[in-house]
């Protein structure tokens, strides 16, 4: 059980007072104590949690479990559907994070409350177990109840297997093709965006998945500016969110329709990027996280695939295109190493299918041809599993964070700096808008 200890410093100031929970209460909520190696889980992880929570105060995203519409968890810790994986990952990153977090905390807290003296007590200095880490479990419970929202956009020419890939990723018929009863495989004359939402549940975790399809992209003879409707859509979602955020009476949970991830399908020609690929990714790479994939990769041998990928990476670098995971957003060396490994491997060469076949007595997802069966989830055959792991199992929360903290913030700053913006237009009382930071303080006081 936890002891109450006098070692906890009181962090004065209005900022931190919301977070401190009376120690007694903590002791009562310690769960899974014995299963957690708490020497590794003391303050660093918790402090990280706090720093994440602190970040959330300066960003007006509330966490409320009452609304049925799930809200994404705003914190610095990835929450996965598989608990064991996460704990493993956390143990690895502990030592690195410890050092980083201290400085992070100092810099987070001090500017808001100038002149504050603060001391940090490390877990190894405590002479007992407090149980602060139990907050993690509390958060996990909350988010399990609340669920997640995830919006994924698929872009590419007709017939590249977009619908099939999305269905295979989420192991259910979530694409527009599977949902529309009168779906016809016709090439539309203009680029129209369609979105379809589904509620998926796995091990008690609910996810509201929205798939945004872009039929007509790149299918015409003249494809000039075919990316414009897509740019417009992405910005419209940011605008919607911004307006909600700036209201006086804000919703407790702002519905998040922003595009968290855009999968761009490159046809497996084996040569290089085409002009349309470059033009699209140049423009969209600045406002959304793009994950390029090589579609229908079962027409490339392993050697051809490697050469193709290398040339694509060269073309991306030459054109200044930053795809996800972007190098400049790596938060710490640990993450950098992990993301470097991913960056060396993109774009992933994928094959998708919803059909199963028997291979060596097992039922596998695959494509059956006269010369063999291509197993979609076999990493020796194609990189579908790598893509799935990236998108869902390891970086799902990160995709959302990057969208919220970086892309959305960039949009927001740009919009608010546009001189013509009149707050009264948005239904608010006039607030003097001096500069970006001044605005932030205003929204803080709204809390």
């Amino acid at each position: 059980g936890g002891h109450s200890s006098g070692g906890v410093s009181t962090w004065g100031g209005g900022v931190a007072s919301d977070i401190i929970v009376p120690v007694g209460a903590l002791a009562a909520t310690v769960v899974h104590h014995n299963s957690i190696n708490h020497s590794a889980h003391t303050p660093p992880a918790v402090a990280n949690l706090f720093s994440g929570a602190i970040k959330s105060i300066t960003q007006p995203v509330s966490m409320n479990t009452q609304k049925p519409i799930p809200e994404k968890a705003e914190n610095g810790v990835d929450l996965h559907t598989e608990v064991e994986e996460k704990e493993k990952g956390m143990e690895e990153g502990e030592i690195m994070k410890e050092l980083e977090v201290q400085t992070q905390l100092d810099s987070e807290l001090c500017p808001s409350v100038p002149g504050l003296q603060m001391s940090c007590i490390r877990g190894t200095d405590l002479f007992g177990y407090i149980g602060i880490e139990a907050v993690l479990d509390q958060m996990r419970c909350k988010t399990m109840k609340a669920g997640f929202e995830f919006n994924i956009m698929v872009v590419g020419q007709s017939g590249l297997g977009k619908s099939t890939l999305v269905n295979t990723l989420f192991k259910s018929k979530v694409s527009r093709k599977s949902c529309a009863p009168d779906y016809e495989e016709k090439i539309s004359k203009t680029v129209k965006l369609h979105s379809v939402s589904h509620l998926i549940e796995e091990k008690g975790v609910k996810m509201k998945l929205t798939v945004i399809d872009t039929p007509g992209f790149g299918d015409q003879i003249n494809n000039d500016n075919c990316w414009e409707p897509i740019v417009k859509y992405v910005n419209e979602q940011y605008e919607k969110y911004l307006r909600e955020e700036l209201h006086i009476n804000r919703k407790r949970r702002i519905p998040d329709t922003r595009v968290h991830c855009c999968i761009y399908f490159i046809p497996a020609t084996g040569h290089r990027l085409r002009p349309i690929d470059v033009e699209f990714m140049k423009r969209l790479g600045k406002i959304v996280s793009i994950v390029p994939v090589i579609a229908k990769a079962d027409t490339l041998t392993i050697e051809e695939r490697q050469e193709f990928k290398e040339r694509i990476r060269q073309d991306l670098a030459a054109n200044g295109i930053h795809v996800y995971p972007q190098r400049e957003y790596d938060e710490d060396p640990e993450e950098r190493i992990l993301n470097n490994r991913i960056r060396e491997n993109i774009p992933f060469a994928v094959v998708g299918t919803d059909k199963e076949h028997q291979v060596n007595g097992n039922k596998v997802l695959g494509r059956k041809t006269k010369w063999g069966i291509i197993e979609v989830e076999n990493v020796a055959h194609c990189e579908f599993a790598n893509l799935r792991d990236l998108l869902i199992r390891s970086h799902l929360q990160d995709l959302k964070d990057v969208t919220h903290n970086i892309h959305y913030e960039t949009y927001r700053v740009r919009r608010l700096n546009e001189s013509n913006l009149n707050f009264s237009e948005l239904g608010l009382s006039a607030v003097p808008l001096e500069n970006g930071t001044a605005d932030k303080c205003e929204s803080d006081s709204h809390l």
Binding site: I221, N222, A268, G270, V278, R311, T369, W371, G372, H381
Partner: protein, 371 residues
């Protein structure tokens, strides 16, 4: 109008009856004579390949003719591609097999369909084909016809991507722009990314759309009624298999104990010449072994004649408008005609003009005299 010259030798039936022998003239050996002459002279064939980058055109050409025509090719990077226009590149190679010489010309069309805006991207190609017709027309009407070079395009292989659900707008427009100028044979490229079911669906879809849009692709000639059943059956199968789903390969792999042209994947080996894997063999047989001559004939008799008729019509209407005297030699804006022939033609033209003038003068004089 096209005759399949198949070199079945007709051995005269020797009978005991001497009357039969007397009635035998012997011109049945003509095909053999033609055969011998052709072998001496050699054949030429011009094949055009069109389609987007990365469809496997070069690989297929190499596989068809068992050569490596594209050894020193350099792929443009994405930046260079943005400003790329459609080019026409010719590769010529002389192939000899069993004493028969073939001068093969491959006309490549890099840049086709690669840009963001592909409006009229087929224009350089149609212009090229027209130019070859013009040149032939000129040569044919010229004075020195001994060594006419036939650069007309006999066949155009069009590569349809396997990724789509049928024909795309650019495919339809391209084929419609060219179907009355050249024999188009549509192919489904990179067919190793399709399962047998998908291939069948795609072929049906494409055939449907070709009918719907009124595209006149190359039609195999009907079998003569006196052909044997086996041939007829093969012919029927061939026709039902279009468009051919092809796979090409520059590499040789080991499969089932043999060395074959193929592609090695982690999940299996695709053999290019295996009929159950793809239609490569059918294409090769059709293109080279059975229908090469027919393709040339159709080019000469149909496409070229259409062009020529159109050209002459335009000329006569133009000349009638200008009220000029008709010149027997066509005066066309051509790229670079031979300087000597040009001079010769000019000379003759002037001579003819003078003669015409003299004639009208004489006529006038006679008319005056009468009066």
């Amino acid at each position: 109008m096209t005759s399949n010259i198949r070199y079945k030798s007709r051995i005269p039936v020797k009978t005991e009856d001497s009357t039969e022998e007397k009635q035998y003239v012997g011109f049945a050996t003509l095909p053999n004579q033609v055969h011998r002459k052709s072998v001496k002279k050699g054949f030429d064939f011009t094949l055009m390949v069109a389609g987007e980058s990365g469809m496997g055109k070069s690989t297929l050409v190499n596989s068809l003719f068992l050569t490596d025509l594209y050894k020193d090719r350099k792929l443009l990077n994405a930046e260079e591609r943005i400003n790329q226009t459609v080019e026409i590149i010719k590769h010529t190679v002389d192939i000899e097999e069993k004493g028969v010489k073939l001068k093969l010309t491959i006309v490549d069309t890099p840049g086709f369909g690669d840009a963001v805006n592909n409006n009229q991207c087929w224009k350089p190609i149609t212009d090229y084909i027209d130019q070859q017709f013009e040149q032939y027309f000129r040569d044919e009407s010229g004075l020195n016809r001994k060594n006419i070079q036939d650069n007309r395009v006999h066949c155009c292989l069009y590569f349809i991507p396997p990724f789509g659900h049928g024909l795309r707008p650019v495919d339809v427009e391209f084929m419609k722009a060219l179907h009355e100028k050249v024999n188009i044979i549509p192919l489904i490229a990179k067919a190793d990314c399709l399962t047998p079911n998908e291939i069948k669906k795609l072929k049906d879809r494409i055939r449907e759309e070709i009918d719907k849009f009124g595209i006149k692709v190359y039609q195999f000639p009907e079998c003569d009624s006196d052909e044997d059943e086996e041939f007829k059956q093969l012919d029927k199968e061939l026709k039902e298999c279009t468009p051919f789903a092809v796979i090409g390969s520059n590499t040789v792999v080991e499969a089932r104990g043999q060395r074959v042209r193929g592609r090695l994947y982690p999940w299996g080996i695709v053999e290019v010449e295996n009929q159950s894997h793809c239609d490569f063999v059918k294409l090769r047989n059709m293109l080279i072994r059975s229908h090469m001559h027919d393709l040339k004939d159709v080019t000469c008799d149909v496409h070229y004649e259409n062009y020529r008729a159109q050209c002459i019509q335009e000329m006569t209407s133009k000349l009638a408008q200008d009220n000029r005297m008709e010149s027997p030699i066509p005066i066309l804006p051509l790229s670079t005609p031979d300087v000597d022939t040009e001079k010769l033609i000019k000379m003759k033209d002037e001579e003819l003009k003078r003669m015409q003038e003299m004639l009208t003068k004489m006529q006038q004089q006679m008319h005056d005299k009468d009066q």
